[in-house]
């Protein structure tokens, strides 16, 4: 469905993405995991050409993305990011409707789609449709962000740390919601995060990036059991070690 071939990007003298190859199958969720500066966000943004690659290519269903007008490409790809970027002067419903509107859907179809999506992200349409984004909590805003990304029934969804700025409880709820939606709709998605547990929860496969290259790609189980490098092993071990330390620190005196 999606193929990244020898994708390359440099900013000035810094090579940010260095010959990356990646294939995402239909209905699959691939998580790009890595620290800051590993090139995961740049890779994601090259898919919908918010950043133009310096080399290599992006193929979607066999079509080279560079042959499409950027705005047409983006209307076929859902995009959701940490800052959400809801249009503050438009209502929740209008925000969700934006891509269908650009695609010139029938008004009745758009109206029905708004309600369907608000239901999907658990924001009752009658209560939320006509409100302005400023009146929503952070978690509610990101639910709208997800709904907006899914509005035009895209064949591919890109998510750039969508839950990174939310408090842990809200993040947990949204992760669960997203997973349920993704399974129900059989979404093809690339999900960028630096949060190990989020990656393990959400990804069908996890692509570990480091210094603009792919360190390893595999299912969570593969990565845990057969890490390809010391880096991957440490990275995946960290959350479990943290949990262990927390458990010990909070345990009654003396007992291990």
């Amino acid at each position: 469905m999606l193929r990244l071939v020898a994708l390359r990007k440099r900013f000035g003298a810094t090579v940010v993405v260095d010959g990356l190859d990646l294939t995402v199958d239909r209905g699959e969720r691939v998580v790009l995991l890595g620290g800051s500066g590993s090139g995961k966000t740049t890779t994601l943004k090259m898919v919908n050409r918010l950043i133009e690659p310096d080399g290599g290519r992006v193929e979607i269903d066999g079509t080279d993305a560079a042959t499409l007008a950027p705005h047409e490409l983006r209307r076929r790809i859902g995009y959701c990011f940490q800052q959400v970027g809801l249009f503050p002067h438009l209502t929740v419903g209008e925000n969700v409707a934006i891509t269908p509107r650009l695609l010139e859907w029938e008004p009745a179809r758009i109206a029905a789609r708004i309600d369907e999506l608000l239901d999907l992200v658990e924001l009752p349409p009658t209560e939320f449709r006509d409100r302005l984004p400023a009146s929503l909590s952070g978690g509610q805003q990101q639910r709208v962000g997800v709904a907006r990304a899914l509005a035009a029934a895209p064949s591919l969804v890109l998510l750039d740390e969508p839950f990174g700025a939310l408090d842990p409880l809200t993040r947990d709820r949204l992760q669960q919601s997203f997973l349920a939606i993704a399974r129900r709709l059989a979404l093809t998605a690339i999900f960028v995060t630096h949060d190990m547990l989020e990656a393990l929860l959400i990804g069908d496969r996890i692509a570990v990036m480091r210094d603009g290259r792919l360190e390893q790609i595999g299912t969570p189980a593969e990565l845990l059991t057969h890490p390809a490098s010391e880096y991957v092993r440490t990275l995946l071990a960290t959350p479990f070690q943290q949990i262990e330390r927390v458990r010990r620190a909070t345990a009654p005196d003396g007992t291990p």
């Binding site: 047409e72 209307r75 970027g85 002067h89 650009l102």
Partner: protein, 524 residues
């Protein structure tokens, strides 16, 4: 007061029209330019710098400089296409005001668009908007309050600065202020100021209403504001169209500079033309000295009264002063005809010279009767001159020849100058020799003992076009030559300045008096 109020609808409509047209053009230029600049960041410094530079030009100068510029453009256009461009009146005012409105709208457009949260721009691109859709759906609506704030700033500025359209020959509420100050009619000044302030507040309110309507999506408010603006535009447009239609016979355009005598003379000319030829006339008052001359050369003005010495020193740049005024008169007349095709219809019969004057009491105490006497005391004295005086060649020659070095020099409005010297706030002023206030306030005119100041015979000048197309007007005015003596002029000035009569009434009174028919002193 009531005769002043009768002028209000006309001045208000003219003012409103200048303001609305300038704001419309200013917005039509600045908004696209501002958008373009946000797409071409490298051009930003240049474009904003240029707009800022225009803003630093004093507004009166910006408007006034349009007159000679348009005269040049007109000359070129006549040569190239046979079409002339009016260099005084509406056009220079509109261009100046439009330029003035550019900066606030441009700057706020750029700031408004720049100020949109980058995350929102990323979202706009991410959902698949084209650059144009991004601008229309996201950037402009979000920048709207800032852009409207810029338009409101421009509105208030332009309403204020439009009062300065008067000196370039476009009627506005400034007519009240300029003529009111000159003729000591404070009621007129007050009407002009209050009306301008009310207009500024009203238009500002309408623009704000429009913005609130758009922002809160309340159609009723939007339609209300648009409706009122449209009604105002239509009302002013109607007056313009009526002027055009009515102007099938082009009125004889008579200029007046910025002092009482000129207002009275222009009214006398208009009245006389109306009585003898029945041609329509139009008075363009409160023009700057060189604005009037340039306008006559370009044909934008048909008639006005100037003074031989002014043309001698300022236009011909002559530095010598022949002993006989008749020589100056003859040379000026020849120069005007040969160089500019201007007809000197005749000398009116009086001289209005620049003179230095001080209070009788002070002059007597210090023993000053001549300008040479004054030079010795000048370092302890303060001198006031009208706006032009210190930049005129006559002043340079006076200062150089007599070695005049005052403790301080102040430029002020001619009408305030007299009050200032009478109350001893300044010691010496640049007076006009025909001014009734010299006698009334007890002032001494100092003798120009070294003959630096040229003679200033008042002469009626007619444009080449008028001489060609309306010889009957010239014929009608020739009898005025020699008819207005210095005493008569001083008396007429005093009627306006001290008794508060309107220039129009004084002109009517003058022409109604049987007055001995003049001995013709035809133009040399």
């Amino acid at each position: 007061m009531s005769d002043q109020l009768a002028l209000l609808p006309g001045y208000l409509a003219a003012h409103l029209q200048l303001t609305l047209v300038a704001l419309f053009l200013g917005t039509a230029v600045s908004l696209p330019l501002g958008i373009w600049v946000t797409r071409h960041p490298r051009a930003e410094a240049v474009v904003l710098g240029l707009a800022g530079m225009i803003q630093t030009i004093p507004s009166l100068a910006l408007l006034a400089v349009m007159v000679p510029l348009l005269a040049l453009a007109s000359a070129a256009s006549v040569r190239a296409f046979g079409v002339d461009i009016p260099s005084i009146g509406y056009l220079p005012a509109i261009i100046g005001l439009t330029l003035y409105s550019v900066l606030p709208i441009l700057r706020n457009t750029v700031t408004g668009i720049r100020g949109v949260d980058p995350a929102i721009i990323e979202a706009a691109r991410g959902v698949g908007m084209t650059a144009r859709e991004q601008l229309r759906i996201v950037e402009l609506p979000l920048a709207l309050p800032v852009i409207v704030a810029g338009i409101r700033t421009a509105t208030v500025w332009v309403v204020g600065i439009a009062t300065l359209s008067t000196p370039v020959g476009a009627a506005s509420l400034g007519n009240y202020i300029f003529s009111g100050l000159q003729t000591r009619n404070l009621a007129a000044v007050l009407i002009g100021c209050v009306a301008a302030a009310a207009l500024a507040l009203g238009l500002d309110g309408l623009v704000r209403m429009l913005e609130i309507g758009v922002r809160t999506r309340r159609r009723a408010i939007v339609y209300g504001a648009v409706g009122m603006l449209a009604a105002l535009s239509l009302a002013t447009a109607a007056t313009v169209v009526r002027d055009w239609v009515g102007a099938s016979a082009r009125p004889v355009t008579i200029g007046a500079k910025t002092f009482t005598e000129q207002y009275i003379l222009s009214e006398i000319l208009a009245e006389e033309i109306g009585r003898t030829t029945a041609r329509p006339t139009r008075i363009v008052s409160s023009l700057g000295s060189t604005v009037a001359f340039d306008a006559l050369v370009s044909g934008a003005l048909d008639l006005y009264v100037d003074y031989t010495g002014t043309i001698w020193a300022t236009i011909m740049k002559r530095r010598d002063v022949p002993p006989d005024p008749a020589i100056v008169l003859a040379e000026v007349s020849r120069y005007l005809t040969d160089t500019h095709g201007i007809t000197m219809v005749g000398a009116l019969g009086f001289e209005n010279a620049y003179a230095l004057a001080m209070r009788d009491e002070a002059a007597g105490r210090l023993g000053i009767t001549t300008i040479s006497d004054l030079a010795a005391h000048a370092p302890n004295l303060v001198m006031a001159g009208d706006y032009e005086f210190f930049s005129r060649p006559e002043w340079t020659r006076l200062a150089d020849t007599y070695g005049l070095r005052f403790r301080d020099r102040r430029s002020m409005d001619a009408s305030l100058m007299y009050a200032a010297v009478a109350s001893a706030q300044v010691d010496v002023i640049s007076a006009f020799s025909t001014d009734g206030r010299i006698a009334a306030l007890g002032l001494t005119v100092l003798t120009d003992d070294r003959h630096v100041i040229p003679p200033y015979d008042a002469v009626l000048l007619a444009s080449a076009r008028l001489a060609r197309e309306a010889p009957d007007v010239l014929a009608a005015l020739r009898p005025l030559a020699g008819r207005i003596g210095a005493d008569t002029m001083r008396h007429l000035n005093a009627e306006v300045d001290q008794q508060g009569a309107s220039p129009h009434a004084v002109a009517e009174g003058f022409l109604a008096r049987p007055g001995e028919r003049p001995t013709l002193s035809p133009a040399p």
